[in-house]
Symmetry: C2
């Protein structure tokens, strides 16, 4: 990625591809050829914030992982099991190689990246298998259950909750290689059925080119674009209850899924495929969120949407303060004029950073903002774009403009929006470049209602800022008439995994204490598990356990604390008074 | 209700109010003062269809239930239990009177009405209690569980699935008298929290008058208007997963509920109140559809919507045939122009009847339709209206007009729509008048996807028409981009309860064989229970049973087959090949 040359000192950002088979090739985000690092203005800002000097950027902080993976941790699984798995998957699709095993050991939370940089291997599967068909997955689940072998799934690998981590060893299914096929395309119903390992970009391309691929009448879109889009899988979206950045219009994945098929310890489970039913508890909604603990998701049928980018209207506004901006956002969501697709409101601290990231600081407008009454560290940036049929899209755009104006906002045109779109999927690359110098970026997010949004924002920021040298930016996205997601990005000088974990815990405690839902779309995994029962309530959580005992009484599916199911009582956090 | 005087013979429709304390006052629909009966043209049509003459309408068919309720079935519950319940609810809110007990014994399926006319009392609670608070309900549930007493709930009483029937006797909670209060109104979040016994009209009036009632800034609507609206309860909507006639815009009740509170045998259960979460399986979606078998719903928080009837646009169109009309409806639902609120498409047989019911047969247009190419028993009537912000509403209306025109439809203006609105909640009254002469009206409904809609419509109608003397009208409503509800109304000459049940079974078998979801919004209750496990699948159904065993291991909550939980294996219907 090209960036303007620095005028002053430039740190030695690692710009070359990570060597094949290296640690770095595993922990580094995405495309090995692609690099992103801060532009000079941002670099200067970081030095100031973290009280660092150029000297601090003259050498890397710890190991940057350029060496080849070599472990002294042989597979503990008996040869007969390996052979049995080869019977199921074929010889070349079963691996006990160090690199293959380490590749699926961790996800993408900073805790994972730091442990990998520290060459600290807490978890490792004994064997990795590469499924081709749902039947193979079913056979493998049955084999693991019969032989009491723990079973894990690695979808796209972008989990930030330790969801994929094979804490108890055993088998890990790597879905990336072969489990990514289209099973059915139904244009009449506007649905597509895919294997769970289908990647985001592959699904979207398949749908955009539906005319060519399926002889369809028109192009379609999946409507689901999480930040991790490029390295996420459909299965991961579904089992964690993910949301894309366009969810305010298209819905979260739980709205987009029509039906699912699982391989569970007690056999195949298929949910029904109708848009609504009054036939008892909703089984689709039970399976989504089970995060691999009830069984392995094999196939998913998704609703699809007409691909009409020609109707997209972009907007961005600057508001004078957070409170007014929140009011305006609420009015937009409750006015019943239709919903914007991307709908993102940054708080003052994030706005300060984003105006730099989106290069508004390089325009003549930037110095004028203060004079016009939109003051730095008070002003709030709001941006988004609309989708849908032309008249619908126009009407949403028109109403947003009207409401923004009524709340004293000034339009920044579609310029900011385009900058955001340009960088929307590649921000994670910057994280690696900064971590090479000991600066950690991570995120936490939660759901709030409009009525407790201001308080949660205040409480969580207060806790974050009590920690030294921290930037905490917040935005509201994934909005609803009743509330929204609050998304916290914290950037701080930490490079030790355990120090990070303690920091993360402090913030999560604050989120739970504030009363917010502990995750809107990242899921629970093993990292957030200690807080889950405390958040849901003991009697309520018992439903999840009852379902687990039905499906997997031997606790072999994604064991080791996932969604709190096999977590020791003393590890659980009960912060609410009524628990 | 005034109807034009008949020119020829007029049957002696019972026009006076049902006597107080009479059987008729229980089984008759709704307002005791309101009567509706067929106009002369419809009466003539029925005579033809059912091969009847005026003579057949000169005397009532069986007992019309004008006498006072007197049963010889004393309460079997021990006096100490009655006293304990009086401790909980207060002396005057516990009744063992015949009339009070019979009032809550049956719902509103034709099977119920016929049994009541036959004075056949299959089920009767031993005692009726009238809760005032959630705490009383919790105490009552705990008491019943401790003493192994079956517990039933009677909400609005409009169940058409035998959902409320106290098959095992015990306690029935009648929610109508006192359990109907507003607990909280939150204008910021646009939510209202109510007790489960709150009636539809009371909720709607409360919201329409929010300015007066709560000092709100504007008026609101609940957005949920089932045909049974006037005699339905919020609790009934929620536990059965109901849908209102405006659901295509507002969503089904499962979309409208934000959170719920239950009194279960293992204690209070409260679901969280955020619009979306990624915190494991969705507990709200587990509890909805449990139909009283996991516990008693006490309080519900609903999303509310801005009340803007001034923006409503009405439309009706006549299409040349069912196939073209289905295509047009699908295009409207998939075009992403926004959704109409009421969205109802009648098949040719229903259109034939509806043009009479909506008095189009009295306009000069009626005889012209055939000449214009919209032929009787081929043409299809499509009607609806829009809601939402002005521009949104207009855009939906505009796109519907465009798509209708493209599919060769002719506008019938808003006239038909207004007729429909006028009668939308009082059609059930006509049912009683016809049943006095042995003509039975009942409904069955299911969900289909667009791709199997035509086939389900054909298969089910074929089975219905194989039965003698039957009118079967069908409409599509509650539409989605992926499918819709198909709603069958059958009118036939049956007056014997068991004959009706056999008839009902035949049609339901046909629905399940056709592959449709066995209920879109009526729920399962005890009447549809035999088909549920066969529809869902054995392994899948086990989830429901696992949850039941968690909440109510003694099977005391709405026992007697509700959602198939305590149904003998031999009563279950497994029609699908893969079950």
């Amino acid at each position: 990625m090209s960036t303007k040359p620095y005028k002053g000192f430039e740190p030695a950002w690692i710009k070359e591809a990570a060597p094949a088979k290296s640690y770095r090739s595993i922990f580094r985000w995405g495309d090995p050829e692609f690099v992103k690092y801060p532009k000079e203005a941002l670099y200067k800002m970081m030095k100031e914030t973290f009280k660092m000097t150029d000297d601090d950027f003259k050498g890397y902080c710890g190991d940057v992982g350029l060496d080849e993976v070599k472990l002294d941790m042989p597979s503990k699984l008996d040869e007969k099991h390996i052979n049995a798995l080869k019977e199921i998957f074929g010889d070349e699709f079963v691996s006990v190689e160090d690199y293959d095993r380490l590749s699926v050991a961790y996800g993408q939370t900073a805790y994972d990246l730091m442990r990998m940089r520290e060459k600290r291997i807490d978890s490792l599967p004994d064997v990795v298998v590469y499924p081709d068909t749902a039947e193979q997955v079913e056979k493998c689940v049955a084999y693991c259950v019969a032989n009491k072998i723990p079973l894990y799934v690695y979808g796209g690998g972008s989990s930030v909750t330790r969801g994929v981590e094979p804490i108890k060893g055993g088998v890990s299914m790597d879905m990336r290689k072969r489990f990514n096929k289209v099973i059915n395309f139904n244009e009449t119903d506007q649905t597509i059925t895919v294997q769970a390992g289908m990647s985001g970009p592959c699904l979207e391309k398949t749908l955009n080119e539906a005319v060519k691929n399926f002889g369809a009448k028109r192009a379609y879109t999946c409507g689901h674009f999480p930040q991790s889009f490029e390295y996420s899988s459909v299965g991961g979206w579904v089992v964690t209850r993910g949301s894309g950045q366009n969810s305010t219009y298209y819905g979260c994945i739980t709205d987009i899924v029509l039906s699912q098929k699982y391989a569970t310890p007690i056999g195949r489970v298929e949910t029904s495929h109708y848009p609504r039913e009054a036939t008892g508890p909703n089984l689709n909604q039970i399976m989504m969120g089970s995060e691999g603990t009830f069984g392995v998701l094999t196939e998913v049928t998704l609703k699809i949407f007409r691909y009409m980018p020609e109707n997209r209207k972009r907007y961005s506004y600057i508001f004078k303060d957070w409170e007014t901006a929140m009011d305006a956002a609420r009015e937009m969501m409750q006015s019943e004029c239709g919903f914007s697709s991307v709908f993102r409101l940054s708080d003052p601290e994030e706005t300060n950073l984003m105006l730099r990231l989106y290069n508004v600081d390089e325009t003549p407008l930037h110095p004028l903002l203060d004079k016009l009454g939109y003051k730095d560290m008070e002003r709030c940036l709001f941006l988004g774009f609309t989708e849908g049929e032309e008249g619908y899209s126009k009407n949403v755009r028109k109403n947003i403009a009207k409401i923004a104006k009524k709340h004293g906002a000034m339009s920044l045109t579609g310029f900011v929006c385009k900058s955001w779109e340009h960088g929307r999927f590649n921000d994670p690359y910057m994280r690696d470049s900064m971590m090479d110098f000991g600066i950690c970026t991570d995120t936490l997010e939660c759901t709030v209602n409009w009525s407790n949004m201001a308080q949660v924002h205040r409480d969580v920021r207060k806790v974050c800022h009590a920690l030294p040298n921290t930037i905490v930016t917040t935005h509201m996205s994934h909005c609803y008439p009743q509330g929204a997601n609050l998304y916290f990005i914290f950037i701080t000088k930490i490079s030790d995994a355990e120090e990070f974990k303690a920091y993360h815990t402090t913030i999560l405690d604050a989120i739970q204490k504030s009363g917010a839902a502990i995750s809107h779309h990242h899921g629970i995994g093993k990292m957030f598990a200690p807080w889950l029962e405390g958040y849901i309530g003991k009697t309520e959580y018992g439903m999840v356990r009852a379902l687990k005992n039905y499906f997997d009484p031997d606790y072999l599916m994604n064991p080791g604390g996932t969604i709190g199911l096999d977590l020791p009582e003393e590890d659980k956090k009960f912060l609410k008074e009524n628990n």
